[in-house]
Amino acid sequence: MLCSISQFALSQIKLSGVVLDSATQKPLTNAFVKLGAHKVIADANGNFSVTQPTAGTHTLNITHIGCDPLSLPLFLVNDTFITIFLPHHLHAFEEIITYAHNSREPDARLIQTISSKKLEQLAAVSLSDALINTNGISFLRTGSTIAKPIINGMHSNRISVLNDESKQEGQQWGSEHAPEIDPLSAGSIEIIKGASTLRYGGDAMGGVIRILPPSFRDTSYTEIALLAKVETNPKGGLVGLKLERYNGKSRLGQRAVFNVKRNGDAQAASYTLSNTGFEQLSGSYYGLLKKGNNDFSFTSSAFVQRLGILAASHIGNLTDLNRALSSDTPLINLPFSYNILAPSQRIQHYTGKIKWENKSDKLGLVSSTYTIQNNHRQEFDNHNGDLNAALDLNLWTQQLHLSVDNHLEDIRWQYGAMGEWQQNTFKGRYFIPNYLRYKAGLFAIATLEQDAYLIETGLRYDVQHTTSYRYEKDILNTNQFQFSGLSANVSGWRRIHQDVRIHLSAATRFRSPDINELFSNGLHHGSASLEFGNLQLKQERAYSLNAALNYNHNKLRFQVEPYLHYFSNYIYLKPTGETQLSIRGAFPVFNYVQTDASYAGTDITIKYQLATHWTTELDGALLLVKNQRNQTFIYGIPAQRTTGKLKYSFDGLSLKNAYWTVSSSYNAKQNRIETNEDFADSPAAYTLLNTELGGQYQDTRLHVSLGVNNILNTSYRDYMNRYRYYADDVGISIFLILNYTF
């Protein structure tokens, strides 16, 4: 007995060390150090020591207030002394670029992650709220309430929004159709730029925004969180409730989220933007049960939105448009109101999902998901009023995903298949036809990781078959379309120095013409344009190169992400420069055509810690898009922009982990346009100034933030906002966000 104890004692290993601030090299006191099940707190000089009973691989976790938690795998053989440089005050730097996925599986994708906590602090009820501070993302807007993310200069059909692995299906071809997502229901959001997105389909050429389910802490708990936001412009606010519960014994996690938002008309610097109110109701339930090696999860969500369309932006014909353009202020100017009148949109989106994951030594991680989605979009105009929708589209989608993630020797293999069934029906006015569409895809990805580099290669095959049903001059016509093709990519990263990492990715992918590109036929009501689809369109193919250079040393973080996409048979809506006469008057004519195009650009982020409490950040995005067949510019591409940010991190004013930021963003005038192609000249360059103060109130679990957007109440119009023809963008706004967790 005694013998065995001494034997035990003999193999004990002592791990001692010191925790230092990586910026100042000074000791960090009271760091919390955890090695396996052993927990200690570092003393005033940053020293700690833990005794671990067995040799082998252990995980060392270090947490310190104001620092990102650090987790290190250690292989312990002898007593060891370790010096840990913790990037203290780096919490001043926001989202950190990560290359590895949460599971720490080798992965070559260029990923940015936004955590659930961050989403709550932003009170993000729309995807645009959630992504607003993410470098390299801008938005295609219709007023202040409809925003579609732009990655690598691309949006709509060339970006995929995914719920875990199932693509969100909601008429995303429309430039005034925002993604029907409530980010507060998400566990986190991943933004995957560029080419390394084969797993999620070949058509997301710009990138992928992935909504991930929440993960539960591995201990029994119940948490209730309340969220409230009030703002002055647009006047209104939101209330949110989140219930989260995990039972460590039965290993059942559940989360329910419910949010309501309501806003009245927004105010431009000097007038009211009539009929721009907004209402949103969203709720979701997520349940996760872990049983042995199996994870079962169930998700259901409901999303209902009603939003006003700027009264002055809904126009009848070219004469109305010219009348609107020649006026400096909107032609319809009513007093502020919470009421939403026609023209308006009402959108409902419901999702149900079941997922089963099984882990085994033989097969690795096998996951299967079934998703069903219903999207019902109704658009009301002045003619049919609030009762009968002028445009009424009902979209049903079912998706099945199967995938395997396994390690063979040094190589990680991911392979799988997906199938999709989709049905669209319409009522009222024709814009796109009824259709039935089947999609299938197969993919395989192999990843090899070594110490200093990682290389990944993937192959994907996609096929889709569409049958459309529509009347033409009283005759019911049926059209069949089939598109298929291969996508492939090679990507990887290499650490060329302790602080420098480069990423490279090359891919070829294709996108099939979408339903609006094939079938649009006639007047786009409200925007006074005649749009004609083309049934002869071929699929477009992109050849993409994405790179990234990351430098990360103490006080400086630097990241450049250049990209080049070359498209053959690029599909776009081209103004013909002609007008067509009808009884409604004259209309400009737009056709869907194909050309060869190139997107060349780069996103840049520089973060520097000026002093203990002060950090600065500079973001920039540059982009040049050209029609390669005739060397002309293409309509509707974001202008160059930069954002500068200064942040002061402190404890004080009854706040902990507090921050105060001032940011200024500059948007250049879009000069890369063809003359006489657009209705109006590009809006002038503008600069906006924003500020925000936030932090945790004393020792409570209350997070507060107070901010002002557009401090100088600048009058401006943005090239990527469709309302720019009719009215200024939103003026000064003050907001307060409260976030309390019980």
């Binding site: 259901s300 126009i315 008057g585």
Partner: protein, 185 residues
């Protein structure tokens, strides 16, 4: 809290499925026929000489398939006598239906949301005679006075101005806009 079993999850999923498939009854292969939608295809102007009731002149603009599609089929020119006064009656028709539907009655019913506007670069003098219930001009009936000989044009617009009608032509949405070549002889 009751333990949440995998079987419960499956059950919820099945119920969701059954529910959704029941709701999924829309027939994809029987789309609505857009030709059944209301359309204005024709603008008809009837001029009656106020001093000679037998001098009635009818001019038409017809675009049988509405906006988009084919070009208009009838594009009359207006011909009126100089130094005369005409009573003008305006009708909007849907000639794609059989029998032809007279949209004018709907405009009369929604007179407070509609206004017919007349513009000419020439010497025609147009006075609107009819009013809506708010005593604002409607424009389906007017007097047109011609002066000396001229070659000019007359533009007629049907404006839809829900909640914003104030008697002026500078707000709302244009439902119909036709420019007639006009000869005063």
């Amino acid at each position: 809290m009751k333990q949440f079993r995998a079987s419960t999850l499956t059950y919820i999923a099945l119920v969701t499925l059954i529910f959704t498939f029941n709701a999924c009854k829309d027939q994809v292969d029987t789309p609505p026929n857009p030709n059944e939608e209301e359309l204005i295809t024709t603008l008809e102007l009837t001029f009656t000489n106020e001093t000679n009731a037998s001098d009635v002149r009818i001019f038409k603009f017809a675009d049988p398939d509405g906006d988009g599609g084919n070009a208009p089929t009838i594009t009359d020119s207006i011909v009126l006598a100089a130094n005369s006064s005409y009573g003008l009656a305006v009708r909007f028709l849907d000639e794609s239906k059989s029998p032809v539907e007279d949209i004018t009655t709907e405009i009369v019913a929604e007179a407070i949301d509609h206004l017919i506007c007349y513009t000419t670069p020439g010497d025609l003098m147009i006075t609107i005679l009819d009013k809506d219930s708010n005593n604002l001009n409607l424009g389906l009936a007017a007097t047109v006075k011609t002066q000396a000989l001229e070659n000019t044009s007359l533009t007629i617009r049907l404006m839809h101005q829900p909640n914003q009608k104030n008697g002026n032509c500078d707000s709302g949405e244009t439902d119909v806009e036709v420019t007639f070549i006009t000869t005063i002889e």
